[in-house]
Symmetry: C2
Subunit: 512 residues, 2 copies
Amino acid sequence: MARRSNRRTRRSESAELPQASRTVDYHNLINPFTPQTVFSNDEVEALHQNALRILEELGIKILLPAARERLKKAGALVDHDTFMVRIGREIVAQALASAPAEFKICGGIGDKDLLVAPGRLIFKSGAGCPHAFDRERGRRPGTLKDFEELIKLTESFDALQLLGAIVEPQDIAIHERHYRTARIQLSLSHKAPWVYARGNNQVTECFEMIRIMRGISIEEFKQSPYCSTVVNTNSPRQLDRPMAQGIIDFALAGQLCIITPFCLLGAMAPITVAGALSLQHAENLAGITLSQITKQGAPVLYGSFASNVDMRSGSPTFGTPEQVKATLGSGQLARHVGLPWRSSSGSGSNIADAQGAHETDMSAWAAVLAGANLMIHSAGWLEGGLTLGYEKMIIDMEMVQSFAELCGGATANEAELAFEAIADVEPGGHFFATQHTMDRYRTAFYEPLVADSSNFGQWQEAGSLTADQRATSVWQKRLETYTPPDIDPARLDELDAFICNRIAEGGAPLMD
Amino acid sequence: MARRSNRRTRRSESAELPQASRTVDYHNLINPFTPQTVFSNDEVEALHQNALRILEELGIKILLPAARERLKKAGALVDHDTFMVRIGREIVAQALASAPAEFKICGGIGDKDLLVAPGRLIFKSGAGCPHAFDRERGRRPGTLKDFEELIKLTESFDALQLLGAIVEPQDIAIHERHYRTARIQLSLSHKAPWVYARGNNQVTECFEMIRIMRGISIEEFKQSPYCSTVVNTNSPRQLDRPMAQGIIDFALAGQLCIITPFCLLGAMAPITVAGALSLQHAENLAGITLSQITKQGAPVLYGSFASNVDMRSGSPTFGTPEQVKATLGSGQLARHVGLPWRSSSGSGSNIADAQGAHETDMSAWAAVLAGANLMIHSAGWLEGGLTLGYEKMIIDMEMVQSFAELCGGATANEAELAFEAIADVEPGGHFFATQHTMDRYRTAFYEPLVADSSNFGQWQEAGSLTADQRATSVWQKRLETYTPPDIDPARLDELDAFICNRIAEGGAPLMD
């Protein structure tokens, strides 16, 4: 962990020792760790060659004719009967050469902009969950109210820098859902919103809603990503219609597309780490190629969501040693092709218990050590993403904020070396009352969100509450004290008029 | 993470693809990660110089006259009125030069031997806990029965390679406790036992009990460590009588002494990481110097147990960002002086909940990434060590075993790259039934100890059990199926006769 900068600032010039004001910037994080590896360089090259061979000899099934056409024009071998597309390594190499290694994601105001670049570390909450859970209201199909509350909670944490499709509002008709979720994201936060790639109609409308709220032209919009989507391949070796359309739409609009194969070892991918990563790499290269032949330089992230199944139940598992290894290998492959990349943390636990914390922590450490630039599902994921837990989100934010603190590093200047303070305290004494401590105690340490350091007796008297029980009041208080961002009411009026018109016209259907 | 070796062995020559037998050796672990840093090299040198200045100019209070005498003979400046000892940097440098960078800890049989060397990673359970807790019997003062059960559990886990003073058997008189705990350790396990440095009488008797059970002479015993102890300084800058005596006794007998200042940021140490580590380093250097001037080459470990207090309650906290930074810095200092070192994981939580898992995981990752050679308190620590939790131990062993799995690395040979398997599965299909999967599924993945991957409905039907609730039956089953090691009954008879005689003579008093 290399020291980045001395983030302590002098608060009082009058004190004999400088006072420390702990102002870790949770928004612009630089990963303090050296990327770790699981494969040798030769093995990484073998994985890369294996993926190129998969694309060249076996090919990938692409269900969208327009995508096949684009790849055919670029030189790929296309069989329109079987939908199979075989992509030569020269085409892939060209695509990799044009994909940007660094770009900016624009927020609603400048200080919500994010730089995606080597060494940068961005956290996003759990996403894509059909259900929501909290200890008071129980487990239920996600609603728009849940979506709104969870976006407010996201907004309340500086260490979550991107918005996500945090929970699926199942109470809203699918052809209207993108209006409602876009409005919530754009009115309750300045962070860059999420857009689902559910077909050209919805995507185009989402882009327009973002332009309205950001007050920018189509041309300005195309200059930088203002939103992101995730394109999941239908592993193994298949890309469905809305996902392929998403790659095309996002590339044409210059918006961020995060390619993410879902390669579960032993299920949708080979049971070996090397086999699963070969498949994941091949699918990434296919998606990146479609993006870059659509528009050279379109912002795209390499993606990994590799873990293993429980071979008895067939269920996906998270935070396992195999997932850690697959994540480290994914980072090596992303760096091998010179692209920024996304990884994930998350848990398969049904509840925010010790299993849940262990799995999320293990997978998050893997992502951080693998040098992931974006960690999705950092907070709130239960049941492998079937449920977004409010309490789980709070507990996981303790972890996310701890990583953010680690990005602040440490320094060892004369005042911090504390020779005089050590001289002032007698052997066997304590430092509680020294000036050195008094000058710093308010800001020296990270203040926990939910961790309880009371002793056993105090803890019993307070009701013997577990961390998830304590977390309930934490999210409730954060919702109570949530402050909306400063939004131009004229733009919001324009957005509402747009949405009203579109709904009156019947909304936008999903792409099948 | 560098690949260490291909640990998969060929089980069946007849299968088209080689079958994989997952035989990760949990006993001899090599840390797969590159040591991470928090300070620059210049800062590490500044910390080292600060510690030398502390020892030279301020000194350390040593309560044992014999220890002061030894240091005086070595050239230190001693004030017998104030007990203060000031140690010059030349004396420290000589001690560091003679302390071994590598040595073997001998177990009762050869395959329980442990190499302590750069890159090696050894796990030890939580230790020193006055209380025990399990979900059926509740929280209670530790008993000999708890001690025995917990040593049996330790024995049942290959990934715990050293025994520890896991819980304090408060039902046994203090002057007899060392007999009882030594007998349990030496009869129920071949792993190297723990000895408390509670004065020369008890230590000498423990050494004799070990020699009886190992069937070795005093001279053989002195050649290699057969046991370990931890010497805690009474931070700041104080070493009490039994601890100083322990350093001397263990050095003279060639047994392993683990120097461990307890430097809580803001309490017994300065509030800054750099200040606390300066103090910790100075106390380490003093202890190592006393060891080496007593006997050059005596096996000794540098030690860190730095964390921070909650500045509102004054309670120690664990798994915090400050602890992670302090641990990374401790590793840098240990490497700076060329010594193997111990770190810790552990939790301040009162129960085996999400807080407990998060804190233990965070501190354990810090220790692994800091290149610690021994991680104490790896499993079972609740309440910052006031309680050893049976369920917490099981939950933490999931983490320890996961780290052990990571030490196995991954490989990418042709069979693992799985091109043929990928070719065999149609796009959008699955790998469950492929030969490649069938050949490997029994051993491909780490099998969880307590993690549950059943879906929400199944989990509800099974009683909605949290991880700590499930862990109860795990430790119970492990105790039921515990198999004692093969112990020579003649040696055990000799040990019992020794203990019987000594108790008849009144036992051995504690040193005050």
